[in-house]
């Protein structure tokens, strides 16, 4: 049977859908090129370069950009990530527990820390010593930054883990239990290893989110050897009254976040294929 509905009667319908689409796309290209040309012609390039990409100011950022700022960003992020990972796993196991109070506590924590701006948590941490005299977060400035990122990250990571644990079929636990494993043993040996595989891509995305949120530690009032990328760029920019250092910091973030984002997407694709 030939498909008559699609074969337009020759001569009558002069513009087939495909032709229409081609024309519409050509128009879009023309508009786009016009806009680009306009920007190139009318932007004040010398002034832009002067303010956002001044080579001698960029040079001032080296080598501390890497030896201090990027290093600290990675310390805050990695520390916060490990904290978030462990607390998140605990919260997820509590959320799925048969013990009701565990579920409540975990649920409450997740609601609160996902519902509050991360910035507020950091501000609270700076007030901890005032509120609790004699109390100090272990690890000093690093400890405070890691605590803030970890507390916030744990709420999100808990949800990632919960989804991962729930994605492991119930039959897996049943098979493990029927072999005589205790509930905890079945979780550790059978369920969690499978859940970890499932959560690797979203966890990579969580790491990227934490990396960006690590810029919030600047609200802890950090300075000197503790500055991370955002604070570092901001300080230099103020010093030279020039936005170039902020651009430099931005590019440095992208050097890490973009490859990680692609990695997460690749892992996600591989996971789908493996099914």
């Amino acid at each position: 049977m030939t498909d008559q509905s699609l074969a337009a009667e020759p001569g009558k319908a002069r513009l087939s859908p495909r032709k229409k689409q081609r024309i519409s796309r050509a128009i879009q290209y023309v508009v786009l090129v016009a806009v680009l040309v306009g920007v190139v012609l009318y932007a004040d390039w010398p002034s832009l370069a002067q303010n956002f990409a001044k080579p001698d100011v960029a040079e001032k950022a080296l080598p501390e950009l890497f030896t201090i700022a990027l290093k600290n960003t990675l310390i805050y992020t990695t520390g916060g990530f490990v904290f978030a990972f462990l607390l998140g796993l605990l919260l997820a196991l509590m959320r799925l527990s048969t013990v009701r109070p565990y579920r409540w506590i975990s649920g409450l924590y997740i609601e609160i820390f996902r519902g509050l701006p991360a910035l507020l948590i950091f501000l609270l941490i700076t007030f901890l010593p005032l509120a609790l005299p004699g109390f100090a977060v272990p690890g000093g400035t690093y400890g405070q930054g890691i605590l803030g990122l970890g507390l916030v990250g744990a709420a999100y990571q808990a949800e990632v883990f919960r989804a991962g644990l729930q994605a492991v079929p119930k039959g897996q636990t049943e098979a493990a239990r029927s072999l005589g494993m205790s509930a905890a043993r079945a979780q550790i040996t059978v369920v969690i290893p499978q859940a970890i595989r499932i959560v690797i891509p979203p966890t990579t995305n969580q790491f990227v989110a934490l990396l960006k949120d690590s810029s919030l530690v600047l609200f802890l009032g950090i300075s000197g050897e503790y500055v991370e990328l955002a604070k570092f760029g901001n300080d230099l920019a103020s010093q030279y009254a020039n936005a170039t250092p902020i651009m430099v910091a931005g590019v440095t973030y992208l050097l890490v976040t973009v490859p990680l984002g692609h990695l997460a997407a690749r892992l996600e694709k591989r996971k789908v294929r493996a099914r």
């Binding site: 079929p169 039959g171 897996q172 049943e174 098979a175 493990a176 239990r177 029927s178 072999l179 005589g180 494993m181 205790s182 043993r185 040996t189 059978v190 290893p193 499978q194 595989r197 493996a274």
Partner: protein
């Protein structure tokens, strides 16, 4: 002698749904008992109550004289003696066949690596998949997966085995391999409680056949009687559907 399994007036409700409504059933040591019945009649639930994957609402389940429904009983210890084989195999996908058969020996029975591996290889050999030790479940056919699952249960040296429709998820040409393994187990004297739709297997291997419908045992007797000359109309109707699905 103490029966391997004794089920007395077993009730199981899921909310308002009364799935088991007073089951009495005994399996003597060394016996093979096949449970047949329409889908939804509570066969799986009955099996899962024996090793407490489901908590009975009322009634008693005794395994080798021990009341598993007693809250003071260490259920993990009881389960060690009961092998279970599932319709969907439920192999651990992140472990090889060998690791699947070793893991509970190591973690539950605390056997050493060398011993666990030896026992695992023997049992994989026993079910005819010795050459698949290093394959992951995803690389195996359904029939091979189910045989690995049987080896995994056997490696724990269970006193009895529960099978829940072990061949229902298999392509027809793979059913025979799994049934052959089960037949051999029965000949070796394993106590088995088997939910199945394989009437040929039930007729030839079972000491008794139990027909369930609507959460009760309708008929219980030797296969020649329950399958050959059923007394109840419900049994006859079910057998007509199973044996002549076209008609």
């Amino acid at each position: 002698m103490t029966p391997a399994i004794e089920i007395k007036d077993l009730h199981k409700h899921f909310g308002k749904n009364e799935v088991l409504r007073g089951i009495d059933c005994t399996v003597e040591a060394g016996q093979v008992v096949c449970v047949i019945g329409p889908s939804g009649s509570g066969k799986s639930t009955l099996l899962r109550c024996v090793n407490l994957l489901e908590q009975p609402t009322r009634g008693k389940v005794l395994v080798e004289g021990i009341e598993v429904t007693d809250p003071d009983v260490d259920i993990d210890a009881v389960r060690r003696r009961i092998g279970m084989v599932f319709q969907q195999f439920n192999l651990f996908p992140h472990m090889t066949a060998l690791q699947n058969v070793m893991v509970a020996q190591r973690r539950v029975l605390k056997r050493g690596r060398a011993e666990a591996e030896k026992v695992a290889r023997e049992n994989l050999e026993r079910v005819g998949v010795g050459d698949k030790a290093n394959s992951f479940p995803a690389q195996l056919s359904g029939g091979q997966q189910q045989r690995v699952a049987i080896a995994r249960a056997l490696a724990m040296n269970p006193d009895l085995m529960l099978f829940d429709e072990p061949t229902s998820a298999l392509d027809p040409e793979l059913v025979g391999d799994v049934l052959a393994v089960m037949r051999k187990l029965a000949e070796e004297g394993m106590t088995m409680l088997v939910v199945t739709h394989e009437m040929g297997f039930a007729r030839e291997v079972a000491d008794r056949v139990v027909f369930m419908d609507g959460g009760v045992v309708v008929e219980d007797g030797p296969p020649a009687q329950v399958i050959g000359e059923p007394r109840h109309e419900r049994t006859r109707a079910f057998l007509r559907r199973v044996l002549h699905p076209e008609g």
